[in-house]
C-alpha cells in the first residue's frame, strides 16, 4: 500500500505521541514504588528535609532497627503467616478445582449440567455479601485466630472450576483415561497421576492469581485474626500508618518495601504468564 508523504509524517507524529503517553503512564506506575524503595534507605531527617529524592542513602540498617522496635510490625512473622495462608489456599483451590472440572468433563452423570450451571451462577455473588454470617459462623465453631477459615473455603472456587473446565474441554481426550482403565488404574489414581500433570500450564496460571489474591486479602483477616502473632502482611502494613505520627518515615517506607518486595519478585519473574492469564480471563466471558 502506498502512502503519501503527508500521511506518513502524520503517522510518525501520531506514533511519537503514543510513545510519549505510554512512557508517562509507565513512569506513573513505577515511580511511587521507586520513591518508596529509595526512601527506605534514607533517614527520617533526610526525608523531612527533602522527601522527593531518587538517590539512595545508607540508613537502611537504622530504619530496620527502628522498624523492629515497633511492637506489631514484624516482617518475618507477617511473611510466614501470609505464606501459610496463601500456599494453603492455592493448593486447595487449584487441586479441587481441577478435580471438580474433571468430574464435569470426563464423566457422564445425571446432574452434570445442572451443577455446571449452578457454578456459573454463583460466580456472580460477591463474597462480601456473606461476610457477617461467615464471621459469626466461624465464631460459633471456634475458628477465630485460626488459619483454616482462609484456606478451606478455597476448595470451592467457582471461577477456577470454570477456567479448568474450559482448559480440559480444549485439550483433554478420554482415550488416555480409557487406556489407564484397561491397565487397571483406579479412577482417583488416574486423575492424580495422569490428568493432573497434563493440566500443569492451567494450574500454574491460576495458582499465581489465587496466591496473590489471598496474599492481598485485608478485610477478613483483619476481623478474624486478633492475635498479633497471627497477623498477615497486609494487617501489619495497616499498623505501619501509626508510625507516621511518630515521624518515623524511613521505617514506614522500609516496612512498605518489605511487603511489596515478594510481590515484585513474583510479578516481574512471571509477568509473561500473568499478562497472558489476565487476557485469557477476558476471552472466557
Amino acid at each position: 500500500m502506498t502512502e503519501t508523504k503527508a500521511k506518513k509524517t502524520f503517522r510518525i507524529g501520531f506514533k511519537v505521541v503514543i510513545y510519549i503517553v505510554c512512557i508517562i503512564l509507565g513512569i506513573m506506575s513505577i515511580l511511587p514504588f521507586i520513591i518508596m524503595f529509595v526512601n527506605a534507605t534514607r533517614s527520617s531527617v533526610q526525608i523531612q528535609q527533602q522527601a522527593l529524592s531518587l538517590v539512595p542513602s545508607n540508613f537502611l540498617a537504622d530504619n530496620m532497627r527502628a522498624l523492629s522496635r515497633g511492637r506489631t510490625f514484624n516482617a518475618i512473622v507477617g511473611f510466614r503467616n501470609s505464606m501459610i495462608i496463601s500456599s494453603g489456599a492455592t493448593i486447595c483451590a487449584t487441586y479441587f478445582s481441577c478435580l471438580t472440572a474433571y468430574a464435569l468433563t470426563a464423566y457422564d452423570w445425571r446432574f452434570r449440567k445442572s451443577v455446571f450451571t449452578f457454578i456459573v451462577a454463583v460466580m456472580m455473588i460477591p463474597g462480601q455479601l456473606s461476610a457477617i454470617g461467615f464471621v459469626q459462623f466461624m465464631y460459633n465453631i471456634n475458628m477465630v485466630n485460626n488459619f483454616l477459615p482462609f484456606i478451606l473455603p478455597a476448595i470451592a472456587a467457582p471461577p477456577i472450576v470454570f477456567f479448568m473446565r474450559q482448559y480440559l474441554l480444549s485439550t483433554f481426550s478420554l482415550d488416555i483415561v480409557n487406556a489407564a482403565r484397561i491397565d487397571g488404574s483406579h479412577e482417583f489414581r488416574t486423575f492424580n497421576f495422569i490428568v493432573l500433570p497434563m493440566m500443569k500450564p492451567a494450574i500454574a496460571m491460576q495458582a499465581i492469581f489465587v496466591f496473590v489474591g489471598t496474599w492481598n486479602q485485608l478485610l477478613m483477616p483483619m476481623i478474624l485474626l486478633t492475635d498479633v502473632r497471627l497477623y498477615t502482611m497486609p494487617i501489619m502494613v495497616r499498623q505501619l500508618s501509626g508510625n507516621l505520627y511518630n515521624t518515623n518515615f524511613g521505617s514506614v517506607y522500609l516496612g512498605l518495601s518489605m511487603s511489596v518486595l515478594p510481590l515484585f519478585i513474583v510479578y516481574f519473574s512471571l509477568s509473561k504468564y500473568i499478562i497472558a492469564g489476565v487476557q485469557l480471563g477476558g476471552v472466557k466471558e
Binding site: 506514533k15 503514543i18 505510554c22 503512564l25 509507565g26 506513573m28 506506575s29 513505577i30 511511587p32 520513591i35 526512601n39 523531612q48 522527601a51 522527593l52 479441587f96 478445582s97 478435580l99 468430574a103 464423566y107 457422564d108 452423570w109 445425571r110 446432574f111 454463583v122 460477591p126 462480601q128 455479601l129 456473606s130 461476610a131 457477617i132 454470617g133 464471621v135 465464631y139 477465630v144 477459615p149 473455603p153 476448595i155 470451592a156 480409557n178 492481598n216 485485608l218 478485610l219 486478633t226 497486609p234 502494613v237 495497616r238 500508618s241 507516621l244 518515615f249 514506614v252 512498605l256 511487603s259 511489596v260 510481590l263 509477568s271 499478562i275 489476565v278 487476557q279 477476558g282 466471558e285
Partner: protein, 371 residues
C-alpha cells in the same frame, strides 16, 4: 460397549464433586443464609477474643448516644474530631446465656434506609466509583485501540503492558498506606515536589480537604485498574474476526472509522463485562478508602463497605443492621447490573430472539391445531 462403560463410571462424577459441593455449602451457602437470617432478626454480635475492650466511636442513632469520658472526666474525641459515644447494647439473654433472637423481617432494612450515614456512604461510594471508572474505561479503550492498531504497530507493548498492570497486583492496603505517606503534610513527597516546582507556595494538608481526599482515592483506584481493563479490552479486540477488518480495508474505511464502526460495536459483550465487574468491585470498595484516609475527613470517603464494617466489627457489633446493609447493597448492585445489561445489550439481537420465540410459539400452536 463404550456407552455402558461410561455409565458404570458415572458415580465418580458425583464423588469427585463432593469436596467442592461440601466446601461451597459450608463456607459460602451457609454464611450467606446466616447473613440473610441475621438481617431479619435483632441479633447482636459478640466481641471476638482479643477485642473485648472495644467501644463504638460513632453513634448511629441520636437517642442511643451515651457519651464516653476518659479517666480524667474529659469527653473523648476520635481522630476526625467527633465525640465518642458508647452504643454497645447489652443483648437480652436466656438462662443459658444465649441471646434471645426476635424476628422482625423489615425493621433492620427500614433502619438502614432511614440512616443518614448509610445514604451518605452510598452516595460517596458511587461517586468514588464513577469518578475513577469513566477516565479508566476511556483511557483503557484508547490504549487498547493503539496497541491493537495495524496502522501504527506499536513496539515494546510487552513492557508497557507489564508496567500498566503492575499496580493491580500489589496489595491494596500497601498502596493506600504508601499514598498516604506520599501525600503527607507538611513534609510528604507530593508537597515537596509541588513546592519545588513552584505550583504551591506553602505545603497543603491534603488529609483535611474532603474533595482532595476523594479525588486521591478515586485516582488510586483508577491507577490500579486501568491496566487490567486495558488487557481485557485488548484480548477482546484480538478475538474479533479479522475478516471484518479486511473487508473494511477493501471498502476504503480508515483506521478511525474502523474503530468506531467495527471494533466498538463488536466489543459490546466485553464492555458489559468490564462495566459490571467494575461496578461490583467499585461499590464494594473498602481497602483503599479505609487505609488511605480511614473514611475521613469527617466521613467524606466512608464507603458502604466501611459503614458495614464499622457497624459490625468496630465495637458496636450491630450484626443485624450490618447484615441488612449487606443484603441491600447486593440488591442495589444486582439491580444496577441488570440496568447496565438492558441498556447495553444488542437491541437488534434481542428483537430477533423475541421474533424467533414468537415464531416457535406460532408453529407449536399450529401443530397443536393440526393434531
Amino acid at each position: 460397549m463404550k456407552q455402558r462403560k461410561n455409565f458404570s463410571y458415572a458415580k465418580y462424577g458425583y464423588i469427585f464433586c463432593i469436596p467442592f459441593i461440601l466446601a461451597f455449602l459450608i463456607f459460602s451457602f451457609y454464611p450467606l443464609y446466616y447473613t440473610v437470617s441475621i438481617s431479619i432478626s435483632d441479633r447482636q454480635g459478640v466481641p471476638l477474643p482479643g477485642r473485648e475492650y472495644g467501644i463504638q466511636t460513632r453513634a448511629l442513632f441520636d437517642e442511643e448516644k451515651i457519651p464516653v469520658y476518659d479517666d480524667n472526666g474529659n469527653p473523648l474525641y476520635d481522630e476526625d474530631g467527633a465525640r465518642v459515644y458508647d452504643i454497645t447494647r447489652t443483648p437480652i439473654l436466656d438462662e443459658d446465656g444465649n441471646q434471645i433472637i426476635k424476628i422482625a423481617p423489615l425493621e433492620n432494612f427500614r433502619t438502614v434506609l432511614n440512616t443518614e450515614m448509610f445514604k451518605r456512604a452510598f452516595a460517596t461510594t458511587f461517586r468514588l466509583w464513577i469518578v475513577n471508572f469513566i477516565p479508566q474505561i476511556l483511557l483503557a479503550i484508547i490504549l487498547a485501540a493503539w496497541f491493537t492498531s495495524r496502522w501504527t504497530k506499536i513496539k515494546g507493548q510487552g513492557v508497557f503492558k507489564v508496567l500498566f498492570y503492575m499496580p493491580n497486583i500489589i496489595t491494596a492496603g500497601t498502596i493506600a498506606v504508601l499514598f498516604s505517606t506520599l501525600f503527607l503534610f507538611p513534609t510528604g513527597v507530593v508537597n515537596d515536589a509541588l513546592i519545588r516546582w513552584g505550583i504551591l507556595e506553602t505545603p497543603k494538608n491534603f488529609r483535611v480537604d474532603a474533595n482532595a481526599t476523594r479525588l486521591i482515592v478515586s485516582f488510586i483506584q483508577f491507577w490500579m485498574w486501568y491496566g487490567y481493563t486495558m488487557l481485557i479490552l485488548i484480548s477482546g479486540i484480538l478475538g474479533l474476526n479479522p475478516q471484518m477488518y479486511e473487508s473494511a480495508d477493501i471498502d476504503g474505511a480508515g483506521a478511525v472509522k474502523q474503530f468506531f464502526f467495527i471494533t466498538l460495536p463488536n466489543l459490546r459483550t466485553i464492555l458489559i463485562f468490564t462495566f459490571v465487574t467494575s461496578l461490583i468491585g467499585g461499590l464494594n470498595m473498602f481497602d483503599i478508602p479505609m487505609l488511605y484516609a480511614g473514611g475521613g475527613p469527617g466521613g467524606a470517603t466512608r464507603t458502604t463497605s466501611m459503614f458495614i464494617y464499622n457497624q459490625a466489627f468496630a465495637g458496636a457489633y450491630r450484626y443485624n443492621t450490618a447484615s441488612a446493609a449487606s443484603v441491600l447493597m447486593f440488591l442495589i448492585i444486582a439491580a444496577l447490573s441488570a440496568v447496565i445489561f438492558v441498556i447495553m445489550r444488542d437491541k437488534d439481537e434481542a428483537r430477533l430472539k423475541k421474533l424467533k420465540k414468537a415464531e416457535a410459539r406460532a408453529i407449536k400452536q399450529a401443530a397443536k391445531a393440526v393434531n
